[in-house]
Each structure stands twice: as structure tokens, then as C-alpha cells.
Amino acid sequence: MFSLASVATMSACIFLFGIFFCIIQNFQYMVKTAEQNVAVTVFFEKDLPQEQMDAIGEKILARDEVSDIHFVSADETWEAYQKIYFEERPELAEGFAEDNPLANHAHYEIYLTDVALQGSLVEYLESVEGIRKVNKSAEIADILTNFNMLIAYVSVAIIILLLCVSVFLISNTVTIGIAVRKEEIAIMKLIGATNSFVKAPFVVEGILIGLIGASIPLGLLYYLYTRLTQYVAGEFNILTGLLQFLSVDEMFRILLPVGLALGVGIGFFGSFFTLRKHLKV
């Protein structure tokens, strides 16, 4: 009877864990996606020959911080500029005719593997010969990094708390189980049962509680997560560019083994250490 209660509470704990896990995973995924749009821009010294620009580009791409690099020539820069500022009145741009006013604005857009690395990359870029100016997006990088850290800390704290609660519950179940079966255990011992023989059923019980207590919430989460992502995709499709959810399969590729291992692990260690405490012969 009591194990039913602990399966229920265990389920609740793993359910909460799963929810937090999903939120964290999705946040990180969104942050990662956002990071990919944060670029460092470098401009070159006046009249730097194309070969030298290419050489610099290769050096930059070889850096660990860099995920991708994109060359924008002076003409392309001018075209993009025209599109933004002279869209309505193209005749104004005509005045420049063949003369590119942004002739010295060929540049690289550099995409980072991790925004947190922006500082070190910028430092490096500023030391490179032939580079005139480095534009960075400092605020976005800082905000994203800090936000990421905050989420990580909060989630670790919550998960540790949930784990402690679960271990306590299993431990309680086992303690009560030992009390109820005290006489039986005493008899087993007197007819020559080893400690591990006596312990085995309790450990098995703990692991089973963990396994069942993990399977129920994981199943539920799978269903709910599928429904939620479908709902969001359907109702807020304007936002889908912004709210990039991990697919249910991607999510459960990690959550399923982690959740099960957690349940079994809590069940095993919870009962194992409680037994060590209460079953001294």
C-alpha cells in the first residue's frame, strides 16, 4: 500500500523534473538558435587586395569560436544599403552612378559557436593585420550568456531538490517495509540468510518503484509535449520563427534514458543506503 504512495510521489517528482527538463532544453535550443544570428563584422584597411582578404577569412574560419563566415563584397554591401535606405526613391541612389560610395566596406560576417566566446574572438580579430574595424554585438551576447547561466543554475537547484525528495521517499518506504517485515527478517537471519539475500527484495522493490514511477510521467509528458508543440505550431504560427521547439523525438531521445536512469538510480541508491543503515546484524 505504501509503495503505491511512493510510486505516486516519485511520478510527481519525475514529472516535474521532465517539465523543467523540457523547458530548459527548449530555452537552450532557442538561445542556440538566437546565437547563430549574432554576428561579428570586420572591415578591412583601405584598398586591401582581395587575396589578402581571402587569407584573413581562412585564418578566421580556422578559429574554434567560429561556426561560419560569410564574405560580403563592397558591391553587395552597397546593394543591401540601397535596398534599406533608397527603396522608395531609387533615383537618389542613381546619383552615385558607377561610383560605389561604400567602396571600402567589403566585410566578413562571422558567426559564433557560442556567444560567450565573442570577447576572445574580438580580441584576436583586432590584432590581425589588415583589419580596420571590428563591430560586435556586445549587449545581445551578454544577455544571452547571462540568461543561459541563470537558467542552468535554477534548473540544477530545482533538480537537486527533487532528487532529494525522491530519495527521502524511497528511503521512507524501505524503512517502513523493514519495520513491517522485522520478524520475517529476523527469522531469515536466524536460519542463515546472508545480508544480501535479505536485502535483495527491498532493493528490487526500490528499483521497481523507480521504474514505474518514471514510466508513468514519461508517458504522460510524451503525450502532453506532442499536443503542446502541435498546438503552438497551429495557433501561433506567426511566432514559429521565434519559438523554435525541439521535436518530441529529439526531446525524448535524451529525456527518456535520463528519466528512466534517474528513477532506477533513485530507487536503487535510496533503498541500498537505507538498508545499510537499518539492517545491521
Partner: protein, 229 residues
């Protein structure tokens, strides 16, 4: 085989249950331990099983000093003993068959062996038909016989029986004692605690009499001696 030197046992309540017991029992012996209620007989059995540790003195069984035995070695030691407890100590939530099979599982016996041994033991103690009954559905005497079957199923080399006939009628008591005698003849050392004067008188075995935690007489092929006090 069993060797007690100046053994005393005081319970935490202050009761001095044993007060300097020196006793030697050889391999293959059949020994009755008699004495009035509270004289320390059950305490002696519990010390031999290492359910309790003596307050002072040494106990050696099969040449091993129980005081110095490591905790981990205790289960293995107990497997060589068969014990019938005065209060039976059967598992209430298991039937007769399971209670006896349980003793075999504890010592990791193959289930094929168990299926063979358990019915054999049950017919030996005359309970073949009641194998499905639960302890509370049995009479005191029947429970006692289940306890005896459990004690014997692992073929111990020492059998300790605390009042194995306490709840039996004279006829059944005699049968059980005959059974113990047969087991003894096959080489098992048997120590029986009993109040049954008639049986002790008839069987002409060694009789150790206790009173208030000391041995007051130890005679071979004796009858039950009534010690007035």
C-alpha cells in the same frame, strides 16, 4: 564439538540468565537440557545460535570461537545448525510448504531439489496433507512439527531443539523424539530442551539439569532428576 567455558549472560534488564556455564558436548551426542522455567535454557540455545553474545566466557562450536567470529561469517555458521524455536517462529504469511522451502532458498538450493526435499520432510513429520495450510490454521503441535521440518531440511550437523514437544500429546511427542533419535543415529548432534519428564526417563540419554543459570547435574543415561529447592 560444542564447548562452553565459564559462560555468563546478563540481559540489559539486569537479569542474570546464565551464571558460569561450563559444558562440553561431543560430536554425535544426544543431550537433554532440563530445568525449571527461567533457568536459562533458551538463553543457552540463543548463545549457541549467536543470536545473543555472552557477557563473559567463551563458546566454541566446531572449533570456532563464536566471540571472535566475523559478522560476515555468521550466516554460513548458522546454516550448519538446525534450530527449533520455543515459539516456532514460522512465517505467518506463508503456507507450510513455503515455510520449509524458504529455509532451502535461504541457502540457495536448486528448486528441483526443493521440490523433492520439502514433501519428504513433511511426510517425515506427518504433515504431508497440510502443506497448503497457513500457520494460524494449524494447532500448536502441528506448528511445532513444521518448525522441526524446517530445522531438518538443510541437513544440519547440529540440531538445537527448544521444547520441540511442548505442545504435543504423549503419542506425538514420542514419535517426534523417535525422529530426533533417528536423526542422531545418522550422525547429527542433537540438543533438546524439554520439560517432558516421561520421555527423558524413557530415553536414557545424557541429561544436563539447570537451575537459576547454573548446571546442577550432568549425567549420562540418566532419568529426569527432580531437584527440589
Amino acid at each position: 564439538m560444542i564447548d562452553l567455558q565459564n559462560v555468563t549472560k546478563a540481559y540489559s534488564t539486569g537479569v542474570q540468565a546464565l551464571n558460569g556455564i561450563t559444558l562440553h558436548i561431543d560430536k554425535g551426542e544426544f543431550v537433554f537440557i532440563v530445568g525449571d522455567s527461567g533457568s536459562g535454557k533458551s538463553t543457552l540455545i540463543k548463545l549457541l545460535l549467536k543470536e545473543l553474545d555472552p557477557t563473559s566466557g567463551t563458546i566454541k562450536v566446531n572449533g570456532v570461537n563464536l566471540n571472535k567470529m566475523k559478522r560476515r561469517a555468521v550466516p554460513k555458521y548458522r546454516r550448519k545448525l538446525g534450530v527449533v524455536f520455543q515459539d516456532f517462529r514460522l512465517l505467518k504469511d506463508r503456507n507450510v510448504y513455503e515455510n520449509i522451502a524458504f529455509a532451502q532458498r535461504v541457502v540457495i538450493t536448486p528448486s528441483k531439489q526443493i521440490r523433492k526435499n520439502v514433501p519428504m520432510m513433511l511426510s517425515l513429520v506427518g504433515l504431508a496433507e497440510k502443506y497448503k495450510s497457513y500457520p494460524k490454521q494449524l494447532s500448536g503441535g502441528e506448528q511445532q512439527r513444521v518448525a522441526l521440518a524446517r530445522a531438518l531440511v538443510n541437513q544440519p550437523n547440529i540440531l538445537l531443539a527448544d521444547e520441540p514437544t511442548g505442545n504435543l500429546d504423549p503419542k506425538n511427542s514420542k514419535e517426534i523424539m523417535k525422529l530426533l533419535e533417528t536423526i542422531n543415529e545418522r550422525g547429527t548432534t542433537v540438543v533438546v530442551v524439554t520439560h517432558n519428564q516421561e520421555i527423558v526417563d524413557q530415553m536414557k540419554k545424557r541429561v544436563v539439569a539447570m537451575h537459576r543459570g547454573v548446571i546442577i547435574s550432568d549425567e549420562r543415561k540418566a532419568g529426569y532428576t527432580q531437584h527440589e529447592n
